[in-house]
Symmetry: C2
Subunit: 354 residues, 2 copies
Amino acid sequence: MNRPTLKDIATRAGVSVSTVSYALNDESTLPLAVNTKVRIRAIARELGYVPNSVARSLQSRSSQTIGVLLNKPLTTPRYAEIAQGLNEGLAARGFHLALLGGESAARCVDDARGGRLDGLVFIGHDDQEVPGDLATQVTEHHIPFVTLDCGPATSPGSWSSVDFDYATGVEQVLEHLADQGVTRIVHVRPDVTSRADRTRVAAVETTTVVRGMELRTIATGMTDELLARVDGQPSESAEYTSGMANRLDAGLAWLDGASAATTALVCSWGSDVEAVYHWAAERDGRLRVAALAGGALDPRFWRGLTYSRLPLHEAGIACAGLIIDAHTKRASPTRRALAPSLDIGDAPHQRRRN
Amino acid sequence: MNRPTLKDIATRAGVSVSTVSYALNDESTLPLAVNTKVRIRAIARELGYVPNSVARSLQSRSSQTIGVLLNKPLTTPRYAEIAQGLNEGLAARGFHLALLGGESAARCVDDARGGRLDGLVFIGHDDQEVPGDLATQVTEHHIPFVTLDCGPATSPGSWSSVDFDYATGVEQVLEHLADQGVTRIVHVRPDVTSRADRTRVAAVETTTVVRGMELRTIATGMTDELLARVDGQPSESAEYTSGMANRLDAGLAWLDGASAATTALVCSWGSDVEAVYHWAAERDGRLRVAALAGGALDPRFWRGLTYSRLPLHEAGIACAGLIIDAHTKRASPTRRALAPSLDIGDAPHQRRRN
């Protein structure tokens, strides 16, 4: 690369290498004639000198790079949005984001111990636990560490965490529906055992009681076991998807035109919304549809949808701030809970039939 | 972090620091009793020794990290899919991917010159040019550099490039439609001036002549100027989206039931497909819809859609291989052109009306 060295600058300036080093170091307290400093810096610029940032890393024990562990591909929209926020937050403070994923916990921890990474951020999903070996090793080796969406229970006070306040999201949606005259909530929900899902179920039960709404439940047929299969092989979801309409038909056989206008189908999972929305549009346009959690749906295509949008981008930015503070200031662990925002898609719909 | 040093291992083993260094270095050719080596390595493991990878970087002049310049957020699905492929390709060879975006060209080049990054990958879009200052600086400083989807013209032979073979994608789609009995192509296309779009227009014209199909064109109203506005402010696209149905209505006023069965609406842009597909489904279910370029549409929701799928993931992997070769072997620049694949969505559709 033919990078000019301190020696090249010293030769050109007719001074010692140490003088060049002092002149280029902003933090040097050594007195140096202002003229000399200005002249040496001009020569450095002219020669295209760049300080060796690896050498600087060795000295400062900082690579200015944070490793981010994603356990799902970036093509999963929620992960892309989180990673984007993280990257913006890190870049704003001069840090790089290194994407991890395939690596073992041991390899990531080695990279952090060896100085290649200044810290690790683990992106979970609906209260997913931090893998046990990773949790043990980051604690043992005092690696700066932050978790996102792993649930408060998995942050044992030794690292910072960012979580979503799923209960508030549920309240926002149901309060809005009640205000719109909805008197019956049909909760379309999976049979999975995550804490986030239990939180949503409890919040739906509480809020419907508080607002005096009737509550019915339709199980989508998604279980922990099926979820694991679908994650490994997306085609496994075909039966699930095609079964959704039948379950809705069976679960809502009693629904007549009069009650449709005051009934809302509320989906626990953002990923069920597309199927439920299409079903409702075919069945009775007056049925309302709402989603309790999810990333970004394009509002142009979801007229009238009530949507609890997770602050994914904001969560990424929050993680960036916490991990940099953990690295640079050895800041004490903190917990942040971010509330979703309520979106109501009411832009013109592509399908003119609606 | 209390990282054990070579000295700690030497003290415990009762040997010199040099002996420890030789014993832990796989590439050392110094003869050392096998017993000694095994014993020292066991102690290193026991103490939890990790080689200081920053010091190793300084020695090898390699950070094992590649910077990837994305000029759109990761939430753009095509960028997420490319980044995912890149990350897998880099991880498979022990490299990290550092996401860049906000940084100036000068900053990225400085990071590469200073040893913090081993090379740069620039992700373009439809023959987007490499920014002039970046092109100048990577050439001037011999930075390992690879471009994706910037068009053959922007690779002046000083770096490797990966591009998409858009013309072959067009041929695949039109050949398939002709084989299915389609005799009239309505090309729904933007008024933008990118090389990729000119390539597609030329390939549509040639292939329809070769296959004896009639060709009509409907302009979507998207221009370079509008595109720049929409990129900055997505809400700017509302009028564009709502205008699409009117343009299709006006452009296809002559269409009757008999001709619908042998007509295909072929979209130059993947992002127009959703609107065109819904329009066609409302208007006449026998109209075929095809898309000439794009990322991944979920086939469950696009029954009968003919789709030229860009090999985005594969392109990411190809870039990873080229940039690592440029860094490690100083390999000569090469150009790769990847052909799209033909997807025909015919899985059961969510909307039972079809």
